[in-house]
Symmetry: C2
Subunit: 165 residues, 2 copies
């Protein structure tokens, strides 16, 4: 199963593509789509859409996984983030992918086994699970890989328990 | 100047296209894009994107106007709405249009002259300003026309005062 995880953000949207059988995960590609904060918001959304579309085209994942909006961040930031999520969802649908959402707690539990893990711990575990020695430029790429791993793990346990993911 | 106003909503997204010189407004087209609530959210966003893209293609407005997110609605609804707005902004950018945002207060002041006007009053004034006798099927179309009229009026007064809209 090939999964793309997306960590939405207006400035930087991280993506991480993995191949997984649910327990062993392999890195395919990861990176960020960066936007110019001096540009109009609609143009920045277009840059994000183009960037994600290129990644889907290049690596052909079968499903997209994203984190749910984190309600404890302030409302203005959450609303901005939701615009970017709308764009990511749209790009997925246009490519025929379904989108699965996971709470930040589920993602951390899947990857670190501890729901209140720090970004550094998530990064370390993501790199370890993927057998990658080099750190990524940004936490956004690692966070995207984390949600992809979360989907891989949970989809696998649903399959094992006889429920379709 | 040809303006499209968009009233974003996950179930029904209203649109209204007008021609205006800033004081006289003429209806070009108005309607709603309806989505199936039984479908996955990403598919519904795709339906909205396709619908708006068709309207832009058919009527070729030069600018898009939308209402700012109304903070007093509950957070969950506001976040859902923001996903749809992200899609509307993206469709605008892909068609080369800029997006102007107006507070609900500005829209009501522009159209009714009273910031706490009810939906029925907005509808009546929109129909009157456009010289249209027949009510639209949905308030969403009228609300979209209202924000288009608001942009037309404000862009005109900015032009008159020597500031570029």
């Amino acid at each position: 199963m090939r999964i793309i995880g997306v960590d939405c953000g207006a400035e930087k949207t991280g993506y991480g593509v993995i191949d997984t059988d649910g327990s062993r995960h392999q890195l395919v590609s990861a990176g960020i789509v960066r936007t110019n904060t001096a540009e109009a918001f609609e143009k920045r959304l277009n840059v994000i859409a183009d960037g994600l579309r290129d990644v889907l085209g290049a690596f052909q994942p079968g499903v997209m996984a994203v984190e749910e909006v984190f309600h404890s961040i302030n409302t203005k930031s959450a609303l901005k983030l939701a615009h970017v999520r709308g764009v990511a969802f749209l790009v997925a649908a246009q490519a025929g992918l379904s989108v699965s959402e996971y709470s930040p707690l589920s993602v951390k539990m899947s990857v670190v086994g501890y729901g209140r893990a720090e970004k550094q711990q998530v990064q370390m575990m993501v790199l370890s699970l993927l057998g990658v020695s080099q750190k990524f430029e940004s936490f956004d790429a690692t966070d995207a890989l984390a949600v992809a791993i979360c989907h891989g793990t949970q989809a696998n346990s649903l399959l094992l328990s006889g429920t379709r993911a």
